[in-house]
Point group: C2
Chain length 586, copies 2
């Protein structure tokens, strides 16, 4: 138990705030039947991303994280996927607050889209995370101002029946915390994304003693990060990355261009330190990298001497072997700085022969080919590439198997609920729980949208579900791209489409002229005139042979064109373009 109350406790203020906003505060109804705690994951249990979990007890709901997911290959054109909040539609007044565990997009990314539709409840998060959320909100105009309450490891807040505390954990962004949630049915721990780093960079190591204390208070359920559950051993320390990086920095014959995630602030800190140690200067490039360096520096999460930074105006004065360009794009992102330099599209940086390009982040699954192509392009500029595969220049942000076992041993939960990962990762994480003594029946492998119910000394995966399917964000549209639209996109991507326009006289049903054909993505029309003419004759014949007086004529003829022309094209080309018949009556 943490006895000391600190000056940072914001409980009173918070509660007041809610009274004002929700305009009701009847105490929780204790019905004859005992109330159950509902844990409802809206995302993050079948993917890496889109993290959002609800905790509901009576008329009190708290939300942990509100993230986005990057689209899969079968979602062409989609910008990202966010959680489905239909379940909350009639319960907005019950939401007591949103807790954000750290500042990565898979935990904060849905905030601009969802907060307005949830009545803009208060957000509780750490200082750096708050800065990142605020900055991101600036990109979205016309949204109500967020009400963000900063918390830290000394804060205790009460949101309805829930009492919350925060404990320090490491991740690859500073200010990540785990949650200690006291509920009427028992205590819960939610780790967020974490690793246990005994030698972190410019932040404290994960607070193992505090976790042990929390564990001693008796934990009903531990909800625990599964991202690296498949990886044996311990996650390496960020410090060790620094040792490797320093060697590379020392030996580089010319400029160093180093790409990493803008959110990987501990890496960024190391790069600044090594630069200062070796008397090098840093130019920061890329909007998100600039923003994050700025926020983190302003809030004191990133330390460097002002003279270490150079910019567009004065970087040319720095000798080449003293210059470091710190930028985004190590995943091969299309418009990020590395790609722009590689494609000669950057305003003032071009690769040179002696450049050393460092990819200092692991490749996110799905990006492998793009990264390979980027490396090809860089090598073609005669620059050198150093990738994490060749040297240990990347430490992941997630607990591996031995770290997870330690967490479970410290927290000693009755029930173990793996979260944050694909289904198979949750399963493997569950097996780790079993390996360190959680009874098999007490391991809960959840699903998005499936309600877990907890009572004193029991947690159970129920058969009850809430909507948790994908909500697609595409341009300005949220949820207006359906599975049907996606299926059409996939179909057109595979074999293109063909529009067959038949113009007929209303009175006689006779064709006004030969059917018009418009096609894209199927074959190059100019070079396939014969095929096109065959299709046109086929369409003409179908029109001639049909009874235009029949009442079902239009739907009949459309089906007929779709089927017959479709089959004809398939027999000739083994392709299945989407066929769109149009009938115009004049």
């Amino acid at each position: 138990m943490i006895a000391k109350t600190t000056k940072q406790v914001r409980t009173g203020k918070t509660r007041m705030l809610f009274r004002k906003k929700t305009a009701r505060k009847t105490p929780v109804q204790i019905t004859g039947q005992k109330e159950k705690l509902k844990i409802i994951p809206l995302g993050g249990l079948e993917e890496v991303g889109r993290n959002m979990i609800l905790f509901e007890y009576g008329r009190d709901i708290i939300i942990v994280d509100m993230g986005l997911q990057f689209p899969e290959e079968d979602m062409p054109g989609i910008d990202y996927v966010i959680p489905n909040i239909s379940y909350l539609k009639d319960k907005i007044k019950n939401i007591r607050g949103v807790i954000i565990t750290h500042g990565h997009y898979d935990h904060i990314g849905a905030i601009p889209h969802l907060m307005p539709r949830l009545g803009n409840p208060a957000i509780f998060t750490a200082r750096l995370t708050a800065g990142i959320i605020r900055k991101r909100q600036e990109e979205h105009q016309n949204l109500p101002k967020l009400n963000i309450q900063e918390v830290n490891e000394h804060s205790r807040i009460k949101l309805g029946v829930f009492n919350l505390e925060f404990f320090h954990l490491n991740h690859n962004i500073p200010d990540s915390f785990g949650l200690f949630i006291k509920t009427p049915v028992g205590n819960l721990v939610h780790t967020g994304d974490f690793k246990l780093d005994y030698n972190p960079v410019y932040e404290k190591p994960a607070d193992l003693n505090r976790i042990a204390q929390i564990g001693n208070s008796g934990i009903l359920a531990l909800m625990c990060d599964s991202t690296d559950a498949e990886e044996p051993g311990h996650q390496i320390s960020e410090k060790e990355v620094g040792i490797e990086l320093e060697k590379i920095f020392e030996q580089a014959p010319g400029r160093i261009i180093i790409g990493t995630f803008a959110s990987l602030l501990s890496r960024v800190q190391q790069i600044f330190w090594i630069a200062e140690k070796l008397g090098k200067k840093i130019m920061v490039e890329g909007r998100s990298m600039k923003t994050n360096v700025e926020i983190a520096h302003e809030l004191g999460y990133l330390k460097f001497k002002p003279e270490t930074l150079v910019d567009e105006k004065n970087f040319r004065e720095v000798p080449e072997n003293k210059l470091i360009v710190l930028c985004t794009g190590a995943q091969g992102e299309r418009h990020a700085v590395l790609m722009r330099i590689a494609n000669n599209e950057h305003r003032f940086i071009f690769f040179k022969t002696k450049d050393t390009v460092i990819f200092s982040s692991s490749v996110v699954p799905g990006n492998e080919r793009t990264v390979q192509n980027l490396k090809d392009t860089i090598y073609k500029h005669d620059a050198r590439v150093i990738h994490y595969q060749m040297m240990d220049i990347h430490a992941g942000g997630h607990a591996k198997q031995e770290d997870l076992k330690m967490m479970i041993r410290l927290v000693k939960p009755q029930f173990y609920i793996p979260i944050e990962g694909n289904h198979y990762m949750l399963r493997i994480n569950g097996d780790l729980g079993k390996a360190v003594g959680v009874p098999e029946n007490n391991i809960i492998i959840g699903e998005n949208g499936r309600i877990i119910e907890c009572q004193k000394n029991s947690c159970k995966l129920t058969a009850k579900t809430v909507p948790a399917d994908y909500v697609f964000v595409d341009g300005l549209g949220v949820g207006d791209v359906s599975q049907i639209v996606l299926r059409d996109r996939q179909m057109m991507a595979a074999d293109g489409m063909l529009v067959v326009i038949a113009t007929i006289y209303k009175k006689t049903g006779a064709l006004v002229q030969n059917p018009d054909l418009i096609s894209r993505g199927f074959v190059y029309l100019k070079e396939n005139k014969k095929l096109i003419e065959q299709i046109r004759s086929k369409a003409k014949k179908i029109m001639h042979d049909s009874d235009t007086k029949s009442p079902a004529f239009e739907s009949y003829i459309k089906d007929k064109i779709r089927n017959d022309i479709g089959q004809f094209i398939y027999s000739k080309t083994k392709r299945r373009p989407m066929i769109l018949p149009v009938l115009i009556e004049v």
Copy 2:
């Protein structure tokens, strides 16, 4: 030098054959100027796949390998990519033969498409490779019969000015060989895909002594596999994979379902051996797996007792802990066996709780997400997944850095030409050459289509090029899908398309009726009626405001619709569907 001539030498027969086929055999013209050897890579120097290299001296051309490449993400709908052979169009009579180094698709896959267009020259390859090529040819009807000449490590063949010998190397398919090519300007070595396995499974280790002998004969240039040049250390032996697999097989509580590449025949052999050792039975599933097991067994490259095999009819009689299903699909391929079982689409195999599913192949870059999804689905069936990441159950087929260095040291070439890999892999391989003593100026990093010229004691990358761009195979079409068609597919995949049809009276130019709109993959029309009506009015207004009498009316109005409607839609949705204006005059 290999002094002994063996009974297998096919030189005479081969030469005769060519005399007949080409109906000309004037000796090479020695012009005043000394002839140069041209090495022309048509594919495989900027990708893993599509391997094909020409060697041309005077009027003699030999071709090494004829492979396909699987499509990249930005090639929607494409089945695969094959080499561009335009350079050979007027030189077909000069082709003296095609040598295929081993039976993988990236080395044999373009044969059915290209051989008919190259005058069906003789193919020289090893016995197993020949079997695989013949089997694959059966799938392509109406093609002329291939003329395949089997060669082995004792064969010596003469093709025009070129004298060829073959030396045994390991790879993850048996019967892979490297080439020793004697040319008028000097001796070349081409490794094909290889690894050096001191403990291979049911085949001989790579013939290091022979390679050393060849090296001693003086080598002008070594052309060497780059696929794993980025990987430090030595490739592990296939034998070690067997040790790991045996442990897993022993401990599996129920059925074992093991997925691997159908072409990974040494893995398949191990699985049979372990099965027999442990008294288990094997059912082979998946067309390509069945075919390869059949061919390899028939040709003596795969040994097993007949009673080890069970089939669809009798597998149910085998106790579950004695049954192994050997199948395709470890890359998450859509229609392969593993995926069909996972999706309950297999005719008679369904996952059960005690099943152990083994993915015994590394993930090909680009397939990571699909494999993750497949693992999710399998875990949902309560089966267990064992992947190579967790245990060492996959040995790659390619030489790693220390293996490559050994090859270079043995061959001692004057010039080092990395082949078979992305550009960055060639570069890294080139650095290895430098590290073991090849002078920097003698390392040639080539490009597809760029001619390398060799004379006595010199090889040079010239500025001369031949066409080597992508040729796409899509259904029955070869080369009829252009970059334009692909760009259209990409555009429609991203934001869909909208057809705007304006029907006007020929005489007056007035609209017959409101413009018709057809859209797919953009927004779901039923739920976006307002937007659709706005677009329709906009189109109507554009038509009304235009001068239909102007001679450039049609192209003007089409541009106008494309631009104005495009901008309007973008402002409303931030999407850019492809807009197709159609004008119909009646």
